[in-house]
């Protein structure tokens, strides 16, 4: 079973990574993550929004209300300088972790 800390960590990395490409609102973000991970990472509302609010409180992302051409109000999130700063060590940590797991499974199969 994957621990809460690992799940949260991967979700944070996924959100920060898609926002690095440009500002997005919640639905676009979830869709983009699902597409780019070929369905491996899927966000429900219950997973996505509390995570976004938490990351906003930490100052990694900033949300702002925008009105679309259809008149629908959407909260658009963008990466803050603190979020950009957080992204690179987070990537490194996860790359190290996955590298270690890969090596471990190879040894186990050998």
């Amino acid at each position: 079973m994957i621990g809460t800390g690992i799940k949260r960590g991967t979700a944070e990395l996924a959100i920060l990574s898609v926002l690095e490409e440009g500002p997005l609102h919640g639905y676009e973000m979830a869709r983009r993550i699902e597409e780019q991970t070929k369905g491996a990472l899927r966000f429900t509302l219950a997973a996505l929004y509390p995570m976004l609010y938490r990351m906003e409180q930490r100052g990694w992302i900033r949300g702002a209300w925008e009105t679309s051409q259809s008149g629908r109000r959407k909260r658009c999130y963008r990466l803050t300088p603190a979020g950009k700063k957080k992204l690179s060590p987070l990537r490194k940590e996860w790359a190290e972790l996955f590298g270690a797991l890969k090596r471990l499974t190879k040894v186990a199969h050998a």
Partner: protein, 231 residues
């Protein structure tokens, strides 16, 4: 097409957050569901299936409500208190002081009313202005999402500050009198406390509270009718 906003409001009805904060969350989640539903319809899914699939994507609503509440509640309470109490309260205090000074400069003399051997001073023009100041404090606090208790506290903030000053002033003056060797009469102190307490705290407090209650009733009714119209 379902009314996604109503659905979100219903599913998150137990979310104990400020009105404005809840409204924003409802709007954001409803927009997400609406977009998801529209995308599924565009892909060719029948309406009923699109609704079911969209609802399945939402996940556990109770879990969502619990998580949102937990995240939002963790936000620094000091930040909220500043906007809901300190800013409106201090503004009300500054306004009441400025009005009192203006009234005195304009030459309005305070009226003295004798009651049971006590002479109580009332500044009538100032007292007449106080309900408006109480209303301003309440309005600003309400806009910041203050609860009933907080908005009323913001409205009477000037007299709370004055009470604190009174409570500090009397022991200090008593200590000074003791140091200087003069024997202060406690009955005199009590009489002054009563006179000033009525003229500068109780009656102005009632005037501020009257303005505060009126504005709260007006603003509260508007907020609740807005909520009914949406939900």
């Amino acid at each position: 097409m379902p009314d996604w906003r109503k659905l979100v409001q219903r599913r998150l009805s137990g979310l104990a957050l400020d009105f404005t904060e809840k409204e924003e969350i409802h709007t954001e989640l409803a927009a997400h569901l609406e977009e998801s539903y529209e995308a599924l319809c565009t892909e060719g899914l029948p309406e009923q299936d699109a609704v079911q699939k969209t609802l399945a994507q939402a996940g556990d609503w109770k879990d969502l409500q619990r998580k949102i509440f937990s995240v939002k509640r963790r936000r620094q309470p000091m930040h909220k208190r500043v906007h809901q109490l300190w800013i409106p309260g201090l503004l009300a205090m500054a306004l009441s002081t400025a009005f009192l000074m203006t009234v005195q400069r304009l030459g309005f003399q305070p009226r003295m009313v004798s009651w049971k051997e006590a002479d109580i001073v009332f500044n009538v023009p100032w007292l007449l202005l106080l309900p408006f100041i109480g209303a301003v404090g309440t309005y600003i606090s309400s806009r910041a999402g203050g609860t009933r208790g907080t908005v009323l506290l913001a409205s009477v903030f000037p007299v709370i500050a004055l009470t604190a000053a009174f409570l500090l002033m009397f022991p200090i003056s008593w200590i000074i009198e003791r140091i200087m060797g003069s024997q202060g009469d406690f009955r005199n102190v009590a009489a002054v406390l009563l006179e000033d307490g009525i003229g500068w705290i109780l009656v102005p407090g009632a005037a501020l509270l009257a303005g505060g209650l009126f504005t709260h009733a007006l603003f509260g009714r508007r907020s609740s009718s807005r909520e009914t119209a949406i939900g």
